[in-house]
């Protein structure tokens, strides 16, 4: 009797969260499946149109362009942000002075809201007056450019980060590297969990720093790397706020037009909610597939201590 009462109390305490989940997550997600088979603008009742939205998406050039942009960005961003976060975590795992200060400093950028960061980056990456190009140009003028002038070649300048179609995605990747704080903290925690006994054993066997990293540290933290890569991949495929602000309508020439931006525009600018729902479901399935592939691929490459 007591147990049942306790269970009831438990459910009651969990009820607000359960209601929230049902109302604000499960219902919209479920409704989106239905709407993806409808013509729906929110202003008129949804009208069933079968698989037309999915068919139209398959022949929509901009849809494929946004898929391409997003995949290129993810392919560039995942390895770079993983290496940056892991590298920073390893550096912060050493015994240097003022370590807590460095840890805080490197973590801080990930606390800044994306919109504020985007506004800041707009100025840093400005092709004409941006701080980054001032530094890049100063370095080039003191290194390569004198040689270029000597051989009568044109001098090299910092790129037009935000306005050149070939630079828009790399620029996004560079920006992404600033906000690896969360992943860095997780790596740091996992690095501190690597058993000292194993490192000591490797030391006794005469292993150098690189061998210790490669053969002891990395295998021991491989589940964490997998976790971070998968969450990083999901984040990269859903990139939205920053490019939406710094590349209006994906300009120049839609080179900065990512999947979620086209989804958002369809839903809220063109009022094609059904089309947007179909895009959202395709995205969900795509991410599910890529996550499944990552888990399958990692089966023999990740070491779980408990098994």
């Amino acid at each position: 009797m007591m147990k049942r009462k306790e269970a009831m109390a438990g459910y009651l305490f969990a009820l607000p969260w359960l209601l929230g989940l049902l109302l604000f997550m499960l219902y919209p997600v479920g409704a989106a499946i239905y709407y993806s088979f409808c013509d729906f603008s929110m202003l008129k009742p949804p009208m069933r149109i079968g698989t037309d939205n999915y068919h139209d998406l398959m022949i929509d050039k901009v849809f494929w362009q946004s898929v391409g942009n997003t995949l290129i960005y993810a392919a560039l961003a995942i390895p770079t942000s993983t290496l940056t976060a892991l590298g920073m975590a390893m550096l912060l795992n050493t015994r240097v002075r003022f370590l807590p200060v460095f840890r805080t400093l490197f973590f801080l950028p990930s606390l800044i809201p994306q919109t504020s960061l985007a506004m800041l980056w707009l100025w840093i990456f400005n092709g004409e007056h941006g701080v980054l190009n001032v530094v890049v140009n100063a370095v080039l003028d003191h290194t390569i450019n004198p040689i270029m002038t000597l051989f009568h070649h044109a001098t090299i300048h910092g790129p037009n980060w935000l306005g050149d179609v070939s630079w828009t995605k790399p620029t996004m990747v560079v920006m992404g590297m600033w906000t690896v704080g969360n992943a860095m903290v997780i790596y740091l925690a996992s690095l501190q969990d690597v058993p000292a006994s194993l490192i000591e054993a490797a030391d006794l066997d005469g292993a150098g720093p690189w061998q210790k990293t490669k053969n002891v540290t990395l295998p021991m933290i491989s589940p964490i790397i997998l976790f971070n890569v998968i969450t990083g991949m999901i984040g990269a495929l859903q990139v939205f706020a920053v490019p939406y602000i710094i590349f209006p309508d994906g300009s120049p020439a839609r080179s900065g037009y990512f999947y979620t931006m086209y989804l958002f525009d369809n839903a809220f600018k063109f009022n094609k909610m059904g089309y947007a729902c179909a895009m959202a479901w395709l995205m969900f399935l795509g991410i599910l597939l890529l996550t499944g592939l990552s888990l399958w691929f990692s089966k023999k490459r990740v070491y779980y201590g408990g098994t």
Partner: protein, 436 residues
């Protein structure tokens, strides 16, 4: 303790029922959302105050609303719309197809408002599929703005603006300052200010659709326009132009490229004088009709016109009272007061002498005559306009960055937008058939 609690509750709940100073018993409050900010908002506030003071039956609650085209749509779909929505005229077709705004024909008939009261181009913006869905607040037309100081600097007569595109291109080449592929000053570029990138076809005699069911992106006039856009990419470098543009300051600031003498000539609307007056008093600016292609004198005085409009959303609580306010704004003296405060031209056919006498914009006759001319062009009155406009802007970038020939780029626009329009029309018909 209890007394304090009751007193606090009374204060809290009582606040809601305390009558506002301006309230009179039985007065109906209507909600009016307007997009403007700054002095433009102050101007409409004065009109609203005048209306509220002019009678004691209706009180307009004015709310400044950014991104109104989206927010109004959400409010309408949620069933809590404002009574009057101050939209942009290109929103009208899409809103009308969605039945998000109500036709005003009956109201107009009852109030004696007719097509003849308005300059034809502006009247076009108010109607869709034969019905009136909006009435104007302030209108606009566009023209070439040029910096006479820079004309003098390069040895040209400052009172002789270019009349043809070819003349303008030649002046631009002379005025542009570039070194090692880096632009310091540009005479003219179609990418500045970049607000009308979808409209260049009009200036070459192009059309964007046939008015019924066909997209006409491949119209020869549009192809000529894209060749012209491409020529700037070839002469100055597309990437150099985008880099140059990124270095210009905000529009409403002294660092605006035109105020800063970094852009010698640009296309702008009737509103530009306000900004020149505020941020660029040091420059000697002037306005003239936008040039036409040399071999198309029939396209002289082409202007892209637009207007801010008032609509009554579907589900508005007080449509009749909303109409009373809209009708008030259409009175000649009220409209003239608003347009004078905005320093714009009037959308009405009749204009008082007083309007001309006191108007602060020295170029107002030009903008008025352009809007009344036969080459006043309006945005395509098609339901997929938001998507079509975005497509045209992206294709503009492609042409400037030399990412294909004008024909290839426009063929892509044609194919994609025709498919979108076909799907859109098919579903509208299907809905009609199903009574949805």
């Amino acid at each position: 303790m209890a007394i304090t609690g009751v007193a606090m509750a009374a204060c809290l709940f009582g606040l809601e029922t305390v009558p506002l100073k301006h309230d009179k018993p039985g007065r109906i409050h209507i909600k009016y959302w307007e997009k403007w900010s700054g002095f433009e908002f102050d101007a409409i506030k004065k009109i609203v105050d005048d209306f509220n003071a002019s009678q004691d039956k209706i009180f307009v609650d004015l709310l400044q609303t950014s991104e109104i085209e989206n927010k109004a749509m959400f409010a309408i779909s949620a069933g809590v719309p404002p009574d009057v929505a101050g939209l942009y005229s290109p929103n009208v077709p899409h809103y009308a197809d969605e039945r998000a705004i109500i036709p005003l024909d009956d109201f107009c008939r009852e109030s004696g408002i007719t097509q003849g009261d308005y300059i034809p181009a502006y009247w076009q913006l108010m109607t869709y599929k034969g019905k009136v869905f909006a009435l104007p607040t302030t209108p606009a037309s566009t023209a070439l703005h040029y910096n006479r100081g820079l004309f003098r600097e390069i040895g040209l007569d400052p009172n002789k603006p270019p009349e043809t595109m070819e003349e303008m291109d030649a002046i631009s080449d002379k005025m542009t300052v570039e070194k090692d592929g880096h632009i310091d000053r540009v005479g003219f570029t179609p990418s500045e200010p970049g607000w009308f990138n979808y409209a260049w076809g009009y200036y070459f005699g192009g059309r964007l659709w046939d008015g019924v069911s066909k997209i006409t992106a491949m119209d020869p006039g549009n192809i000529d326009a894209y060749r012209w856009i491409e020529s700037f990419g070839k002469r100055y470098g597309g990437s150099a132009l985008t880099s140059f543009k990124s270095g210009l300051g905000q529009f409403d600031s002294p660092n605006n490229g035109f105020m800063d003498s970094k852009v010698g000539m640009e296309i702008q609307g009737v509103w530009m004088y306000n900004f020149v007056h505020t941020y660029g008093p040091q420059i000697d600016a002037n306005a003239a009709p936008f040039p036409h292609p040399k071999d198309r004198p029939d396209l002289a005085n082409t202007t892209y016109v637009d207007a801010d409009v008032l609509c009554i959303p579907r589900g508005a609580a007080h449509p009749k009272e909303a109409w009373e306010f809209i009708r008030y704004v259409q009175r000649q003296e009220v409209m003239e007061k608003l347009c004078l405060l905005h320093k714009k031209n009037s959308p009405l056919t009749k204009i008082s002498d007083h309007f001309w006498q006191v108007h602060a914009n020295p170029w107002i006759h030009l903008f008025d005559s352009l809007a009344r001319g036969k080459n006043a062009k309006v945005p395509a009155r098609v339901g997929i306009w938001p998507e079509y406009q975005q497509e045209l802007s992206a294709s503009f970038d492609q042409a400037l960055l030399l990412q294909g020939t004008p024909e290839q780029i426009l063929q892509d626009v044609q194919d994609r937008m025709q498919a979108k329009l076909d799907g859109y029309s098919k579903r509208l018909k299907q809905r009609e058939a199903e009574g949805l």
